[in-house]
Symmetry: C2
Subunit: 236 residues, 2 copies
Amino acid sequence: MTGASFEYILRSPTLVEKVCQQLAAMLRVDPGHEAKLPAERELAVKLGVSRNVLREATKRLELQGLLEIRQGQGTRVVDRLHKPISASLELLVPKEKERMRQLFQVRYMIEPHNAQRAAQHATRSQMKRIEAAHDCLLAASNAEALVVADMEFHRAIADASGNQIARLLLESLAELREASHAKGYRGRTSDRTEDEHLVILTAIRDRQSEAARRAMEKHLLRASEDLGFSAQDISE
Amino acid sequence: MTGASFEYILRSPTLVEKVCQQLAAMLRVDPGHEAKLPAERELAVKLGVSRNVLREATKRLELQGLLEIRQGQGTRVVDRLHKPISASLELLVPKEKERMRQLFQVRYMIEPHNAQRAAQHATRSQMKRIEAAHDCLLAASNAEALVVADMEFHRAIADASGNQIARLLLESLAELREASHAKGYRGRTSDRTEDEHLVILTAIRDRQSEAARRAMEKHLLRASEDLGFSAQDISE
DNA sequence: TTTTCGTAACTGGTCCTACCATTCGACCAC
DNA sequence: GTGGTCGAATGGTAGGACCAGTTACGAAAA
């Protein structure tokens, strides 16, 4: 039976995996689920597994950004899918500056497309959100608020682009940048940001996809200097 | 003291986290480390923690793609950093076809830049690898080998681009595509792939970065049809 | 001698119980 | 009210016992 076709025998997945799948399914199917999971001991009994197994499963889901576990407080359901991405990138490029450089490069690859797609597909409510973010930027009084409003602007555009993956990558970048910031490695937010955002915003509103793409490219190239990179670092 | 700056109090990290960090550090610092970790019981004693904690830590590192644990066999050190990315994307976009569409969109955003950068920076050995991949494609006799050679070509270019993050994303895409393939959802590999790859290869070799970028764009737009998408699906 | 095959000794997987550490809320003294 | 104290609930850690695959080695068969 040399020529016979052998079906792969799929090994019964470990208990932990089954529990993970079941929990993940519960979380996904019912996002309106109570934000808090039962206590470990209780949930373990309900699922018919030992507390050990249940713990390994929840730990795993925590790492995937689906749960948040805190001692004495319980286990909450969250939605932080970008967390594993950030963790991977930190492992992949340990050097902080180099990581930021590569991330900004990726941003330069992705965001102009986001702007282009947003110009083509943004709904009225998505458009409103982009505008609101821009208003926030104009109203921002301190450096903190500036960064938040800046990020929200880009986030809103990513959402409007309709590509969830691009959006997730952006979110991960934001997190890593914030982590760098917390450790004292900070850039600035140039005054020109407002004007450049306005150009992008206008292009998107007017459905000028090419203009939106180019405006975003320009903005990112200039903004890269705020973080201490040169345009060559990013675009070449 | 309204205006005072409150420093975040960093909570003492849990034991599991400490073990994770230590293990991760050991793996990173010493990649030539023995590919196999000591047995759980033994390692737990060495680290001075309970086997429970050690297990949760290794499970975590397994999910991050740094370890591979198999019953009766032991724990091996591996390098599959793209795995958590794939897992996240599967959670983010559960529908397979839609996920592939968005992934191909991202690919369309990233790979032309990769080609451009590769044309600018590829070393001689990187260039050789790209050429070797192309030769493989020409020599491929069955559909299986075609896909592998195709992927290797793109991978080689990503490596030559010098952006590890872009490379990681590509790797993740490949994995998800293969998973789809295994489940019966398969595309084809058009004959035109060879010619298009040759154009890209030539442009990179001749350091024509703009030409390389455009050739890659063209190639991806056409190849998207092999997977059942239209050019509009990808570029708009 | 060579091959086959069963067993023993690993390995990780699961379960159980007990106890520690943190959090939160109810209650009490001031 | 304000602040402190204590207890209940929660997750964190420990250690032991046993189950379930994997491997290696030696005995039995060819």
